[in-house]
């Protein structure tokens, strides 16, 4: 307590110094006078009395100084003094200061920006209470290559009823939903969910209530919950919304709740929630399509839950072996699940900016050392005047800290700007998961602050240690200043080598990603995206429940569109290529005995209309397209892709074959055509064996229309929409976009990585170039003398240039070796991010090495020119 009190008073002692000084002087004077009076009384002479008083006191100034040290906080005062001095020094050399701050701002800004992304996507917990207990449960069949597969409804019911690790478990089915409350139909993303969905996430509604177990049971009211955003947009935030009726897919529903702002389930942007009416009936027997989320009981570990689920899945497999043989279950933490696929790229980017910051540090350390040699005299004077080494280190370190904090402030500005352009690289339709919340928050600020302290330590400490170790004798002697810095030169070379090696490492990473990206976009997708417009429609199950009616509905829409001006061809597919959506099912040749579903081979299934291939520009290699002959009541037919024909019927007359398909069609289907292979789920994935069925014969509830235009596809958007509405004015249409946009969005993630790495590598190379320039240029100025002698002895310009370049290239050579070793060791982490490029791609490695050598040589050109211009007379007179 007493100490604390004293501390505060001492802190206060830093202020109002004048008055305190005045009082101290007065007190000292009184003391001396009193002492003198005593001595005079004892008979001493006045002069002697004063002398004795001063001796006894121990000197006025010394006493005052001791007193002052106790009055304020000398540590703090020194610090303030150093800060003031540092600011003055930095302002005295604006060029140096600007370069240093800019370098730091780039390094720290890049780190802050990337860390904001990492923080928002990977580190920040999910926005639900106790999120670490949330998991997703998948079906898995490793032998079939399915590791995280969506779930069969009956299996889900078994899991829910027999597992013991979970508080509760909910199933989710996402559907596009047509809403109409007042006039205009709108298509919104909807989720059908088990009633427990909201209680698992533990998010209460903003208005009204969430589902109870009665909701969704047949015979009860149909109820719906709205998102905050939909409520704002479509219903003007009407607080009386609860209890209102609205049509969901043409069925009247009652609104029972509104969820709070920004509530969503990871990776979906659903705006309405309706109960999922699951029951153990035939309707739900086949197919795997549910997403399952669960909350672990308190204290249950992931491992326990996994074991529990394995045994429960075994039960399900024993109960329905035909369907479930080979299938098991997998439990994944929800956060890990939601960030699947972006974790590695983000960590790679963060590592890349970390390297960039290290390069910036090395550069700055060199700048400080270089500037420091110019200040050796100053250091020597200071230490001659009695400054302790620690005091000089402190002063130099305070200067570094000032630089780094200023650089950080500027860096945060850069980060803010950088983040904006970075987010612009993420397309609206294919966002990074959880990217909505990327901001510079307090955690980012803390990280940035720590990063700046760290940089100050790295770039400030070594030079401070070095510079404070001055050899007084030689430093103070005029003219011999240059001799004292020989050791620094070696240190600076080490820094430059490290810089160049790191820059090489980053360039290799960027090179690999760029090459991979260019490989990726030059893949032939098997269709031509130019001139193609796509739009998604979702029919009301209530109005088009009848299969025949539904198939005719789609046919009418397509024929309306085909008759619109500017349309060359129009078709539909249930899953658009490159949108990462795939559906698979089992099949078997009809001339063999039928195996169980679990034992049948499986293929990708796509439900398309006639002219889909023509609209997409995919050729039909053999046979024919679907056409008017293939209607709902005629013999069912299928088209297969080339990969399917090669895999299952190589060298056979495929048109003589019939297939049994595990789809809505019961009768064996004839194969009538073989289409060329096209990429479906994503561009990276080689085409898999695919069976195409006709939407006229196996109609889906939704379809994406693909329309090939004669000209710009955007121009036919309006007339295509009009055509759909001529058939059904209530039909909502969503996701109107060109196939080129779909294509470009589908590669946005690798593009994002490649661009960022490229930018970082560019900055790294630029910084390294500055580093090489600095060291070579310094060494030229050191060797002016030697160069002068060489010229005087008859060296030609080319000899001098070679002399200078040799130094730059020697440094780069060492760096090249180190950088290559590092790259070979580290590029393996890129393996999974690369497409058709190996992590040790020789072309990339070779070109990056060339780049580094060329850049180093370029950096040495200016100093070399200066060396060539050295006048031997001037140079030799210099000493």
């Amino acid at each position: 307590m007493r100490r604390l009190r004293a501390l505060f008073i001492r802190l206060a002692g830093l202020f109002r110094k004048d008055r305190r000084e005045h009082e101290l002087a007065a007190e000292m004077e009184t003391h001396l006078q009193m002492h003198m009076e005593d001595s005079l009384r004892a008979g001493m002479s006045a002069d002697e009395a004063r002398r004795q008083a001063l001796i006894k006191l121990g000197g006025v100034e010394q006493t005052k100084e001791n007193y002052r040290e106790r009055r304020g906080l000398p540590v703090l005062e020194n610090l303030l003094q150093d800060v003031r001095y540092g600011v003055r020094m930095l302002r005295a050399s604006p060029g140096f200061t600007a370069v240093a701050i800019l370098t730091l701002a780039l390094g720290i800004g890049a780190n802050a920006a990337i860390f904001s992304v990492v923080n928002a996507i990977l580190l920040r917990p999910l926005p639900y209470p106790e999120p670490e207990r949330l998991v997703r449960v998948w079906e898995s069949a490793p032998t079939k290559g399915a590791f995280r597969n969506v779930v069969n409804p009956l299996n889900f019911l078994d899991w829910r009823d027999h597992s013991r690790s979970f508080e509760s478990m909910a199933a989710i089915l996402d559907l596009m939903t047509n809403l109409s409350a007042n006039g205009e139909p709108v298509a919104v993303q909807g989720l059908q969910v088990s009633p427990q969905f909201f209680s698992i996430l533990r998010v209460p509604p903003l208005l009204g209530r969430t589902f109870t177990s009665e909701d969704g049971v047949a015979g009860h009211h149909q109820v719906v919950i709205l998102s905050y955003e939909l409520w704002q947009r479509q219903f003007g935030a009407n607080p009386q919304i609860i209890g209102r009726k609205m049509d969901v897919d043409a069925v009247p529903f009652t609104v029972i709740g509104v969820m709070p702002r920004r509530f969503s389930f990871p990776k979906t942007h659903s705006e309405v929630w309706t109960p999922l009416p699951l029951a153990r009936t035939e309707d739900w027997k086949s197919g795997r399509y549910l997403t399952v989320v669960a909350r672990l009981k308190p204290g249950v570990t992931l491992e326990q839950a996994r074991e529990d689920m394995l045994s429960v899945a075994n039960l399900a497999a024993e109960a329905r072996p035909d369907f479930n043989k080979g299938w098991s279950a997998e439990v994944m933490p929800m956060l890990e699940d939601a960030t699947e696929g972006v974790r590695r790229p983000l960590w790679v980017l963060l590592a890349a900016v970390g390297f960039l910051l290290l390069i910036a540090c090395a550069n700055l350390a060199n700048l400080l050392l270089m500037r420091g040699t110019g200040r050796l005299r100053e250091m020597a004077v200071r230490s001659a005047l009695g400054a302790a080494r620690s005091r000089i280190i402190q002063q130099l370190f305070v200067e570094s800290l000032l630089l780094s904090l200023t650089g950080t402030a500027a860096g945060l500005l850069f980060a803010q700007l950088g983040l904006r352009s970075l987010l612009a690289l993420i397309p609206q339709n294919a966002p990074l998961p959880r990217s909505e919340t990327i901001v510079i928050d307090e955690r980012v600020l803390l990280f940035t602050f720590l990063a700046s302290l760290f940089t100050a330590l790295i770039f400030g400490f070594v030079p401070a240690l070095r510079l404070s170790r001055v050899d007084l004798q030689s430093a103070l002697k005029q003219g011999s200043l240059r001799g004292g810095v020989g050791g620094h030169q070696t240190l600076r070379r080490c820094f430059v080598v490290a810089e160049v090696a790191l820059a090489l490492l980053l360039s290799v990473g960027a090179g690999l990603m760029l090459r991979s990206f260019s490989r990726l976009i030059s893949v032939d997708p098997g269709f031509s995206p130019e001139h193609v417009l796509t739009m998604h429609i979702w029919t009301s199950p209530a109005r088009y429940h009848d299969n025949l009616k539904r198939s005719q509905y789609f046919d009418r829409i397509l024929s309306e569109i085909r008759s619109a001006p500017g349309v060359r061809a129009a078709g539909s597919t249930h899953f658009l290529p490159l949108t990462e959506k795939i559906s698979g099912s089992c099949f078997s040749p009809a001339d063999q005995p039928a195996p169980t579903p679990a034992e049948s081979p499986s293929a990708q299934f796509l439900i398309i209309s006639s002219d889909y291939f023509r609209a997409m520009g995919t050729p039909i290699l053999k046979g024919r397209d679907f056409d008017v002959r293939d209607n709902f009541n005629s013999q069912p037919v299928a088209i297969v892709n080339h990969a399917f024909a090669e895999r299952y019927f190589p060298g056979q007359d495929i048109f003589a074959k019939q297939l049994r398909v595990c789809w809505t069609i019961e009768k064996p289907v004839d194969i009538v055509g073989v289409a060329a292979d096209a990429r479906q789920a994503q561009l990276q994935q080689v085409p898999t064996p695919t069976i195409f069925l006709s939407n006229s014969q196996a109609p889906m509830y939704f379809a994406t229309l693909v329309v090939r235009a004669t000209g710009n596809p955007r121009q036919i958007a309006r007339s295509a929409e009009g055509a759909v509405h001529r058939v059904d004015p209530d039909q909502a249409i969503s996701d109107i976009q060109t196939m080129e946009t779909v294509f470009s969005d589908s590669v946005s993630s690798p593009r994002f990585q490649a661009i960022l790495l490229f930018v970082f590598a560019g900055l790294a190379v630029a910084l390294a170039m500055i580093g090489v320039y600095g060291i070579v240029s310094y060494s030229v100025s050191q060797r002016t003398n030697e160069i002068g002698i060489r010229v005087a002895m008859g060296a030609r310009s080319s000899d001098i240039v070679r002399l200078v370049l040799r130094e730059a290239l020697a440094l780069s050579g060492i760096a090249l070796g180190l950088g290559l070793a590092g790259s070979l060791a580290l590029s393996r982490v890129l393996q999974t991010l690369l497409f058709e490029v190996t992590p040790t791609d020789p072309v990339t490695f070779a070109s990056v090495c060339c780049l580094v050598l060329v850049v180093s040589a370029l950096a040495a050109v200016w100093p070399a020119r200066r060396a060539v211009r050295v006048d031997p007379l001037v140079a030799l007179r210099y000493e």
Partner: protein, 114 residues
């Protein structure tokens, strides 16, 4: 010449407190003289060391100071003991007695064996 021990900080503080208790409010010079006299010149107070010690005691709240006038009409800063200072003095004195007692016993082992 007699050997004079230097006065170290803690002891000096205790002596200052005791002096102020005995003599009431006093200026720096007076305190210095008193300590010197009481110790029989055994301790040569370098008067200068007194002032930071006074400041420290004041910062810790054991003494307070105000400007006053001396006997021969000179403006001087007078220090006086506070309530906390009085307590600190008691505590300090007690501790000091204990220490000396223990040391005394320790340094004369003859008595112990008797």
């Amino acid at each position: 010449m007699r050997e004079r021990a230097d006065v170290w900080q803690g002891t000096l503080a205790l002596m200052v407190l005791k002096t102020l208790q005995a003599l009431g409010p006093l200026h720096g010079y007076g305190i210095a003289r008193r300590i010197e006299q009481t110790s029989g010149d055994l301790l040569a107070v370098n008067y200068g060391t007194l002032y930071p010690a006074l400041l420290k005691l004041e910062q810790e709240g054991y003494i307070s100071s105000e400007w006053g006038t001396s006997d021969n009409n000179r403006k001087a800063k007078y220090y006086k003991l506070t309530r906390a200072g009085r307590k600190q003095l008691e505590k300090g004195a007690r501790e000091w007695e204990q220490t000396t007692e223990i040391l005394a016993r320790f340094l004369s082992p003859g008595k112990e064996s008797a």
